[in-house]
């Protein structure tokens, strides 16, 4: 019975999947823990200073940041998604909550999402088939929520040739299929 208690990746396997379609590599990334962080009313300045002291760079609208341990992407006014290595921050809320106390609301998000990291030399050609987020105008550091195949997804431009798509975990296979289909179509 021990095996039935082993956790599965969002795509339902024991190990994360990597698919290569022509010049595009799509990696199911299970190495990142997520938590949403929302400032409580009139505590915005406090949240900003605690985050800065903890090494969490909170980005402005439409942006994402990455640091030594923590990364963050903007979700809405005074709301962010905080990323950290799963190996050291599996229980990310238990780590963040003592830092922010009552100044912010923090919610575990890791298991709600599937993250695919795509690398290719010409990512704009791929993403113009997938969503309305124009990678030709939004360079490294840009991040947004948009629609891919009817699914609300976060698209994070990590680098010129690397983009993360963070989508609903319950639709992991549909999203994976959409990414592969678009990659086959684009290249």
């Amino acid at each position: 019975m021990a095996n039935s208690l082993k956790s599965l990746t969002p795509l339902g396997h024991a190990a994360a999947e990597t698919v290569t379609v022509g010049p595009v590599t799509i990696v199911e990334n299970v190495a990142v823990a997520l938590a949403s962080l929302a400032s409580r009313r009139d505590r915005e300045a406090e949240v900003a200073s605690i985050a800065a002291a903890a090494g969490i760079a909170l980005p402005g609208p439409g942006q994402a940041t990455s640091g030594a341990v923590y990364g963050a992407l903007w979700l809405g006014p005074e709301q962010w998604m905080v990323e950290a290595p799963f190996a050291s921050h599996e229980d990310i809320v238990a780590i963040l909550k003592p830092l922010f106390g009552e100044a912010a609301s923090i919610t575990e998000q890791t298991d709600a999402w599937v993250r695919f990291d795509l690398t290719a030399a010409d990512l704009p050609a791929l993403f113009e088939r997938l969503c309305g987020f124009d990678l030709r105008r939004n360079g490294p550091g840009a991040a947004t929520r948009t629609v891919i195949e009817h699914l609300g997804c976060y698209v994070v431009r990590r680098a010129e040739t690397e983009v993360s798509v963070i989508g609903p975990r319950s639709s992991a296979h549909s999203l994976h299929h959409a990414l592969i289909t678009a990659a086959k179509s684009a290249f």
Partner: protein, 95 residues
């Protein structure tokens, strides 16, 4: 149609959901003596101008913010887009 989001810039209108007249922001006081007639007006009476109209849009497939969009219902030209939060704050409300 492109909506120029105050925080995120130009976004396609398919990311948004339309609610209606921005007057819906002014929910009547449910405890007032004339609450019933006020709520009847609030729920059923709308201006339906052919021309400039202030309306509420929700950025459902984006940052989930509510916007007050000033749009000409004849030409569809959008002349102003504000965060509903800022509009409410400018009216002296707490949220």
């Amino acid at each position: 149609m492109i909506i120029n989001h105050p925080l995120l810039g130009r976004r396609d209108s398919q990311e948004f959901v339309y609610l209606g007249d921005a007057a819906l922001m002014h929910r009547p006081d449910g405890m007032a003596a004339d609450a019933l007639s006020k709520f009847v007006d609030f729920a059923y009476l709308r201006d339906n101008p052919a021309g400039e109209h202030r309306e509420l849009w929700y950025h459902e497939q984006g940052d989930r913010s509510w916007l007050v969009v000033t749009r000409n219902t004849v030409t569809h030209a959008i002349t102003k887009v504000e965060l509903a939060r800022d509009v409410a704050k400018a009216e002296g409300r707490s949220k």
